[in-house]
Structures are given as C-alpha cells and as structure tokens.
C-alpha cells in the first residue's frame, strides 16, 4: 500500500527513466522490461505503452491505487552508455532492493558522467571512414581525402546540431559537404568513386535500423515501423545530399 504522494513520486521517476531510455535509442522491449523491474523493486506494478513521440505510463499498488501519466519522449542523442548503465541500474534495484532516493541518486549520477570529448569523436570517425574506404578497395590517397571529408562533414553536423537545426536538413547538408570535399579526389589519380561513396557513410542511421527490426520481430510493430520509416527518411536525405554533388560532377565520374 502506497500513499498518493509516494505513488506520484515513483511515477515521476519511472516516467523520466523510461523516456530517457527511449530518447537515447533503446529498443522498446528492453525499456518495458527495465521499467517493470524497477517498479517491482519499488513494490508497484508498472505498465507502459509507447509510441514514437510519447509514453503512457500507469503504476498501481496492491490496493488498487493507480497513477497514470502521459510523457513526451525527448530527442536525445543516441547513447549506448545510458543503455547499458541504466539497464544495469534496473538489475541493481531489483537485486539489492534500492529505495527510491538511492535510485534517483544513482540515476542522476549516471546522467551527469562526462561524455567523450568532441575532438576525440571527430578523430575516431575520420579514421573509421578512412578504413571503411580501405575495406572497399580504396587506395591511400583516397583514404586521406575521405578522412578530411568526414572530419569536416561531421564538424558541420555537430555545429548544426548545437543550433538545433532540423535533423533532416543536417543530414542533407553534411552529406553534401562531405561528398563535395571527397570530389577533390577527381583531380588526382586515386580511386575517386570509392572515395565519394564512402565519404558520406558515417551518416547511416544504423541504430534505428537494427532497433526497428528488433521491435518488429518482438511484436512492437508500430514502434518498429516508425523507427524504420525515420531511418529510411534519413537515408533519403543522405542520398539527396550526395546527389547534389554527383549532379555537379557526373561528367567527370563517367
């Protein structure tokens, strides 16, 4: 038996936990299991229903006291760290019976951990795309050009993200910038088509595609489809950005 205030406090915490997970790219069934586990540890039953933009959450105790909330899912960057740490938190709550205050403390502790520095990510993404170019059979010159194209394109993406520009526009612009820079390879004697092809691949939305497949197979068809549709739209935007460069340079590529 919980008082009205206790139930409300639990609902607020569980709601924030669930929307944080969904916003940072965790597939639906994991969010459902994690929230159910946390609810169980706090002595309440939790039921959630999710869609692309919002969550309906109902928690109830053994005495039929019910509290329901409708929450909006924030658009957070995808974070595997939240995925694994917050999942671990739900097991910890279940195994060592944490109280709501302890849970909150650990939750905010996880959220406030420092993130990887931007320049590290820039460097790693550049190297990654250059090695990707290598895997497709590009030569060292093409790899160098792809490295520069990726770093600049990703930098543009970061700046636009900071200014909260529309996501589709960000992808189109970065794809255009990267492929334009990669088109420099046409001036040299390198594998130009491979360089242009790989220069935009860091924009592929891999996480939504795989989450979408998982969701659909597990029966959360609507969430899965909306994830896949979102991913396809991003791929189309990427293709548009790339096509602009191709239109400009198609004669030298043929």
């Amino acid at each position: 038996m919980k008082s009205e205030d206790e139930l409300k406090e639990i609902a607020e915490f569980v709601g924030e936990y669930a929307t944080c997970l969904l916003g940072s790219g965790v597939h639906t069934s994991r969010v459902m299991r994690n929230t159910a586990r946390i609810g169980e540890a706090l002595g309440v039953t939790t039921r959630i229903s999710t869609s692309q933009k919002s969550v309906v959450l109902t928690i109830s105790d053994s005495k039929r006291n019910v509290h329901t909330k409708v929450l909006t899912i924030p658009a957070l960057p995808i974070s595997f760290e939240y995925n694994s740490e917050l999942s671990a938190l739900s097991w910890e709550a279940c195994d060592s019976h944490l109280s709501i205050d302890q849970l909150k403390e650990r939750y905010y502790d996880i959220l406030s951990r420092p993130k990887m520095r931007y320049y590290w990510i820039l460097l790693l993404v550049g190297l990654a795309n250059a090695s990707f170019c290598r895997l497709f059979g590009g030569d060292w010159g093409a790899m160098g050009i792809v490295f520069v194209a990726t770093v600049v394109g990703f930098f543009v993406r970061l700046i636009l993200q900071k200014n909260h520009v529309n996501h589709f526009f960000i992808v189109t612009t970065s794809a255009f910038v990267s492929s334009m820079i990669a088109s420099v390879s046409l001036l040299f004697d390198v594998t130009a088509d491979i360089a242009i092809a790989t220069s935009v691949l860091y924009l592929i939305p891999g996480v939504p595609i795989i989450n979408g497949v998982i969701d659909i197979v597990e029966g959360h068809t609507l969430s899965g489809l909306s994830r896949l549709i979102q991913a396809v739209l991003l791929v189309i935007c990427l293709a548009i950005g790339l096509s602009i460069s191709l239109l400009l340079f198609k004669n030298s590529l043929l």
Partner: protein
Amino acid sequence: MILELVNDGIFAAIAAVGFGSISYPPKRAFKYIALLAAIGHALRFYLMHYLSMDIATASFFGSLLIGVAALWFGKVSHCPLTVLYIPALLPMIPGIYAYKSVFALVMLLNSLENQELAQQYVHEFMLNCTVTVSVVFMLAVGATSMIFLFPKKAYSMTRKNRIFVARKNEDGKITGFTE
C-alpha cells in the same frame, strides 16, 4: 591469405570503433566492439573471396558470428547485446552498392530522353538497390537472431550480482540452485 584476413579485420575494427563512438558506448565496450567487428568482417571476407559466396549470405554468416560472440562478450563486459553488436555490424554495410544505386538514379533522371540509356540505369538502380537492402536486412537479422534464440541470456547481461537460492529437498539436503 592469413595476412589478408588480418588486414581486413584491423580496418574493420578501426571502422567499428570510430562509427561506434558517435553513439557514446561505455568505455569498457570499445575493445569488444573492435574484436567483434574484426572477426565478423574477416569471416565475410573469407567466405566471399575464398568460397565465392554471395555478399548477402556471407554477411548473414558474418553477423551471426558477431551475434554469437557478443553473447559471450556481453557476459564478460556487462553490456547489453545491442551495444556491442550494432557498432560491430556497421563496417559490413554495403556502401558501394548504396552509392551505385544513388548514382544510377541520378544518371537515370538525366537520361530520360535516351530510352536505351534510361533502361540500363533502371536496371542498374534495381540491382544495386536490391543488393543493398538485402544485405542490410541479413545483417540485422543475423545478429539479432541471438536475442530471439537466447532471450533469457540476452536480457540479463547487465546483471552484476546474481542471487542464487538453494533448493532443498525434504531432508534438508541441497539439490541445486535457482537464480
């Protein structure tokens, strides 16, 4: 041959770590992501170049291997399966086919007056698009199938201290443990 495979694996590992870093994986996951990507991509390379398998089937086996290995690595590192295998799958995305489809589409729209050329680009577009979509689908299904085959294992990766309760028979003898 071995040198080629190792070379392929190393570049796949760098690619996976770099693409993975966009999605902020926990620091302890990096070495497992690199290893997974290397073995998966090297297997695909081997199947395609030495057993002349097609790219979609080879990708399926590569991602299946990544899924199996991720089950084990997940237990060691306490990371959810998806955290480990999504970045590891990224180097297997068929970028060249995707590029060729976009290129064919652009060329098709530019050669609408020339019937013969347009036909050729429609054909090219369909071919490359089909390969891209089927490879991506196979990649997703291959690694994800581990979650469906071993749901209990896959969904308790992040659990750190398992509590075992002794099962006793009537005489008080311990007969086994349940989680």
